[in-house]
Symmetry: C2
């Protein structure tokens, strides 16, 4: 057995049995070891941003980490934007990065760079393996570290000689760390605050945005009069008919400030206090009122469900609450194509248990309302604001859930960052339907230019925000990656193409010009 084999067997034994990868020379022993360890599934991507985003999407749906395999510092760097998003999503991930052999690093070969410095910018744990004989133990530790609540990226740097050197055995992963319980004193204190009846908001984010936690929060709100709100962007929310209905903090600062106006107590569950996504001249960074008191019921990494259950007990929360989405599909649209009609068609047609990877950006601003009456489904947000996440996350979610349909609702500017995702969707035959909103612009920036009070753009500035000269042809781009594609010119055509895509096996893409 060599180090690479001991590594892969340890991963599989620890429940990490899938690896998204884009390997190079220093990772060849890892790749070779795949043949002797068929329990490890490997999925190739043609760019590292797809690798890391897919590992994020996979873990969001599966709940346990995938591994990645990346080639040295530059390969890691290409994956960092989506590792940043994964960090913000509290996604568990075992991120494996090849490195020069331990004795070779000193010679400054062309690919040498400071991998640890890169890795610490997004990882909760980083280790460079020192020997093939201790590599299995490093892998076991990485598995456990990745699942330290609330979940984090554990980066294991793999010098080539630790992969090719002899190893004796695999290692068992240490027991997972349990999320610490919130003490009774904090529960009582928050119950006391809620009982006062002053205007209060319970803000759920991170893992508190999942259905069970939101249900507790809504029961508590129903009893105490506190409003329940959700963070704007979280790793995964469960929506659709029968699921609890809550407001989310909007992206525009003014709207967020208005929504929270008058709030005296903000109770945080699994999240931090809400802040403006960007700074804008003359607008606040913090969107809660200045005199609002901030309280933490459970911080990310604490036992969120237990804290909510304890608080529900403490305030004698009612067993149920009325505020749930009804099953109320919108009617099928016809005629000219608009953003609203695309989303209503999706709301009208999406199958139960669909997974939505939402990187529609400006084309998705009102998507909530048009789809909330559909049957139960999962919704995955861009968590860290780094674009190019949507298609890789859709790819990983489809790998994790082969029996479900994944709808990749995608803005064109963001799609261009990681369009190589389409190739992996084709190779793996994944059930991903990409709806490509082609407005041929960084439309969000056209708004942001006004928001930051920059002078009205002349033609030279506007040129930097337009993608229309030339307009990318997404039908050809998708076909070039091996994914069947079509362009919808009106709502009837979109409905027909979307229905056909839902009925088909494998991926497809529909470009809509808006």
């Amino acid at each position: 057995m060599n180090g690479a084999q001991s590594l892969i067997r340890t991963l599989v034994d620890g429940g990490v049995d899938l690896c998204f990868m884009n390997p190079g020379t220093s990772e060849m022993h890892f790749v070779s070891a795949l043949d002797s360890t068929p329990q490890m599934r490997s999925v190739l991507a043609l760019f590292e941003g797809v690798v890391t985003g897919a590992a994020d999407g996979y873990a969001r749906m599966r709940g346990t980490p995938a591994a990645t395999l990346l080639h040295l510092g530059p390969g890691l760097a290409n994956g960092i934007a989506n590792l940043h998003n994964a960090r913000r999503a509290e996604t568990p991930m075992v991120n494996i990065v090849g490195e020069h052999a331990t004795y070779h690093r000193q010679y400054n070969a062309p690919l040498t760079s400071d991998i640890e410095a890169l890795a610490w910018t997004f990882s909760g744990w980083v280790r460079t393996a020192q020997s093939s004989t201790t590599l299995a133990a490093d892998a076991a530790e990485a598995i456990a570290q990745s699942q330290t609540p609330p979940g984090q990226i554990a980066t294991l740097i793999l010098p080539a000689d630790t992969a090719w050197g002899a190893a004796e055995r695999m290692a068992a992963a240490p027991p997972l760390t349990a999320a610490p319980r919130v003490d009774a004193e904090r529960i009582c204190e928050i119950a006391r605050i809620l009982r006062r009846g002053e205007p209060a908001v319970i803000l759920v984010g991170g893992q508190a945005a999942r259905e069970k936690a939101v249900t507790f929060a809504c029961r508590i709100g129903q009893t105490t009069g506190a409003r329940v709100m959700g963070d704007r962007a979280v790793a995964r929310i469960e929506r659709g008919a029968g699921r609890p209905k809550i407001e989310r903090i909007p992206y525009p600062v003014d709207q967020a400030v208005r929504l929270l106006a008058g709030t005296r107590h903000l109770i945080l569950v699994g999240t931090q206090q809400p802040v403006a996504f960007f700074a804008y001249p003359g607008k606040p960074s913090l969107v809660a009122p200045p005199d609002c008191q901030i309280h933490t019921l459970a911080a990310p990494g604490e036992d969120i469900l237990a804290a909510l259950a304890d608080l529900a007990d403490e305030v004698d929360a009612m067993a149920d609450f009325p505020n749930r989405y009804p099953l109320d599909r919108p009617p099928l649209p016809t005629g000219d194509l608009t953003i609203e009609k695309i989303w209503t068609a999706v709301g009208a047609l999406m199958p139960e248990d669909a997974i939505i990877s939402d990187e529609a950006i400006t084309s998705g601003r009102n998507a909530d309302a048009w789809t909330a009456g559909a049957p139960p489904h999962d919704w995955l947000h861009v968590t860290g604001g780094s674009i190019g996440q949507g298609m890789p996350v859709a790819t990983g979610a489809a790998v994790a859930c082969p029996d479900r349909k994944v709808l990749s609702m995608q803005a064109d500017g963001s799609a261009m960052y990681t369009l190589q995702s389409l190739w992996t969707q084709a190779r793996e035959g994944l059930h991903v339907i990409t709806v490509l909103f082609a407005n041929h612009a960084y439309a969000i920036l056209q708004g942001e230019l006004r928001n930051v009070q920059a002078p009205s753009p002349g033609s030279r500035a506007a040129q930097m925000l337009h993608l229309n000269d030339p307009a990318p042809d997404w039908v050809k781009l998708a076909q070039g990656m091996g994914v069947p594609a079509a362009r919808a010119e009106d709502a009837d055509a979109f409905v027909e193409q979307f229905q056909r895509a839902l009925a088909a096996d494998g991926p497809s893409l529909i470009e809509v010009l808006i």
Copy 2:
């Protein structure tokens, strides 16, 4: 005047009058300021790896830095792979990275990350601007720092409020640092060594690989009997008819070791001692013989041309030497298509002063021999081993040299990393002809798997090295980006398509299945 305007005017005044960019919200004042400063040309790219690679290609051909504009940590991260290559190319670059407003960073908004930590992995100088009133001085310092010999990346981090705040004036760039002169003692010592007549190699790399320096080295070699060799990969070499002919250190370790066998003295000029690109079990990291003495005539950043001129004087070097490439174009190929025929067609047809961006990888291994007899041309290598450099560097070189033809000789696996380059080539109407070698594999890794003595791959490992399921269609991908494209099935078709591309204005792509 706001900070962004003072920044751009300072850049223009300091000779940095072109900015490759992919901006976001925090960079909107920079974008807006383009309208009031028409002397700054801005070129949009749809992915940051294109931005940074284009800035590298531009500076390699122009000799002075371009600026970049990137969006926060994730935008920077997407550009790091090509910043790594640019660092290895000793490319001067003013790398500008937007950041949250100074007062906003503390709130941990979603896009917050450690930008300085990322930047130090490839930069020679990093500064976070503190105020709009001192931003111009920061920019002036960045211009000077980027041109500190031998050239480096100066990263200026730009908090949004330093761009939108009021500023009073631009700043003049400080005088450039001159490369320090090598002292006479070192020159004499190396002359003494060379006069002994023991087997010696003068190794030129970095800026010593440019024509003037190589010419000096060849004159010294001709007189003293030392062989002159070049590093495998450098930022720019001048080749073709009339240019000095030298051997380059080959990539395979065994070949490099054989080439240097028996060498007693290795004289380094503008480079470090040659090392294996990767470590391989049982093979050395250092390719020069163990008893070879290493001497440095001029380190990177020292005055290379003066050191070579002084050494030439000291050894009474002959005024000329015979070893130059003759004008000897190969005949036009016909019949079936092979790698050799593609390169001979290029050698037969490339115009004088063509620029070759070479990321052909395994398809380019013997390209030297098939093209050396063409008229004078420039050749740009992948300097840091990070793939996805070829098309961005071709893009930047074409922006720098609008009157020359750029040949982007491109492997398919590497092309996939930064295919968004094609869109910028289309938008800017650049004279780039991409020859896309489609072998549908990471062919280099198939060899490397043997070189690292990994077990012969079974089907699961082999699957990770093949791109043929599905095979990307590069004609559609190029057309999707707005670039005219065709596929050549035989040598006659390739010759005809290549001639047509040379005659056309604007970009084109020819896919060759090999």
